[in-house]
Amino acid sequence: MATLTVTDKDRFLINQEGQDFSHEAKTFIKIRELALKNLKGLDFPSNKLEDWKYTNLKELGKLEFRPQSAANIHADKINEFKIKNLDAYFLVFVNGFFEPSFSDVIEDKESDFLVTNLNTAKKEFIKLVEPHLGTQTRAKDQFFVNVNSAFSQDGAFIYVKSKAKLDKPVQIIHLVDGDLVAAYPRNLIVVEKFAQAKVVLTYDTIETHSALCNSINEVVVEEGALVQLDKIQNENTNTYHISADFAHQAKDSTFTINTLPANGKVIRNNLNILLNGSNSTANLFGAICLNGNIHVDNQTFVDHAKPHCESNELYKTVVNDQATAIFNGKIYVNKIAQKTNAFQSNANILLSEEAKANAKPQLEIYADDVKCSHGCTIGQFDDEALFYLRARGIKESTAQKVLLDAFIGEVLDHISNEAVRAYANQLIAKNFKSQFAALKN
């Protein structure tokens, strides 16, 4: 007699059900249905999959995460998560749901840009949303991308009309509050021809003993457009964050993403960039400063589909305590993508015996006239430099900090907004405070 077993995947998916999306336009329901269909054919990610070799989700699979709206939150609490001195539009989401009363919404149809939530846009601006939503996330094999596509509650919608410039950055604040929350924020950013936008994504926690934030960012960068994304992940140590960022670039466009995973339990970032027009540039920078038991897995994929494009990738990692950093950077150069310039570099510094780093570059090049380079290093701070600083009277703790700032500074310099950069620096300093304090004694 066959026994009926409920797999982790079944239980996980059953727990996500019960949200009512029937009010959505058919075109959007189709996206959800397609994702559900894809999920039928997929297993819950395990270490057996090459993609998940170094990140173990066994524990996640046993936990009964469910979508939940948050209790009422006081404005003071929300304000704590706005980046200090940042002159920006703020959009606030809690557990995936929009919080309009804390947000600066721009929905004026005459405006050069829109800053609102996706659910509103799906109704009010369906013509702007429909051509883009879900077009980059059709991959059948990505479990969590499909989970988000199927169950996403809401997210930000940012639209900049051609030749316009978003006059201030937008900070999209996503917060998790409550136990066993499953949040599926999904942002869509559409920047038309020759337009410009800067968006700061911050992921934080109000309070939780255990949570899952499974996020997606879809970015459409049209011809000649300029888009910068700063993504700062600072959730608490009980939170899993699994995210995927997609950028689709047309010719002459520039897209920059700065990724800063600072806190959490397990963080997985999948970055997918498609250079789909000639003469476009993608910049991928990562500043990864880890302490405690955090496990951070950054996977990047840059697809050079057209000639004369450039990609610059620099990920720098400093790992302390028992933390782990994984980097897997893939560059794919299509056979027609001649004159491609693709650079990738991943440098890791281990500050403790138990800290771990794992780096894997993957180049697949089918064009013959290209310039590609990659390099990975894993090491410690340069002893010679440390001694030189100390020989000049600089305390060991200060000297370490000086070297850390110099190392990570090369990445942080790419964050163009001063307030965001200051915030990033502050998070990093906080992570290594105990390290430097311990050295002082």
Partner: protein
């Protein structure tokens, strides 16, 4: 000021300093000469506190304090300065921030308040001029892409900024052309006073034309085997070290 007695030191199990004695008093300049590999830089490193070297015997006292007990930064605070034979390049750390941090940390150690920005800038300009170091180098990363001469002048510049009691110059003259040599020597001579002292490691007597030593020591196989006046330097340059080795062997017999 500095008293080294029977100092033995090893690295990776290999004994380099084999019972070295040296005494330096305020106002003095000591030159140390010796063949390659004899242990000159090892001595300088041990004085500055490089942790790779293990001191197995002997003592080093600086103004009555046990120097070997102190961390490198504490030694700098006490007033020991080492001009490196090979200054280290530190990408991403600007020269000016580096020296500002160093000056203020050393001041803190000495119980002095931080310098106001204006005071610091005045001091900086003055000392840059002393060694004719271009102001442009201030904003570059420490020693990164500096020419050999610029690196050495940067060492003397740092020494001037930190105002040590004992300056140990490890082959600061190597690789310098005549002009640079004059500039560096001029810097050292300007800093010289009755209260401080210098230990100058060199292979060439020409430096000693500019920085005139009170004593010249010969370091051979981890020991100071001969001490003389500045004329000894001339003799060494002319005749090399073989005659000293011979002399020593004859003494033994």
């Amino acid at each position: 000021m500095l008293k080294i007695k029977g100092l033995k030191a090893e690295i990776e199990g290999k004994e380099i300093l084999k019972g070295l004695n040296l005494e330096v008093n305020p106002g003095e300049v000591h030159a140390i000469m010796g063949p390659n590999g004899s242990g000159k830089s090892t001595l300088a490193s041990v004085l500055a506190g490089r942790e790779e070297y293990e001191v197995t015997a002997g003592s080093v006292h600086f103004e009555g304090k046990d120097l070997l007990e102190l961390a490198p930064e504490e030694r700098a605070g006490e007033g020991v300065f080492l001009a490196f034979q090979y200054p280290v390049e530190i990408p991403g750390v600007s020269n000016i921030n580096f020296i500002k941090t160093a000056v203020n940390e050393v001041r803190e150690y000495r119980g002095l308040p931080n310098l106001e920005t204006k005071e610091f800038m005045t001091l900086l300009k003055e000392k840059q001029q002393l060694v004719e170091l271009s102001g442009k180098l201030a904003n570059r990363s420490v020693n990164e892409g500096f020419s050999g001469g610029e690196k050495k002048r940067n060492e003397i510049f740092q020494m001037a900024m930190l105002d040590p009691k004992l300056g140990v110059l490890d082959e600061t003259d190597s690789g310098l052309d005549i002009d640079a040599l004059r500039i560096v020597s001029h810097g050292v001579n300007e800093l010289k006073s009755k209260d401080n002292a210098f230990v100058v490691v060199t292979h060439y007597q020409r430096l000693l034309d500019y920085i005139v030593p009170d004593y010249v020591h010969v370091l051979l196989d981890g020991k100071i085997v001969k001490t003389g006046s500045k004329e000894l330097a001339l003799e060494l340059e002319e005749k090399g070290y073989d005659w000293i080795i011979k002399e020593l062997e004859e003494e033994k017999l």
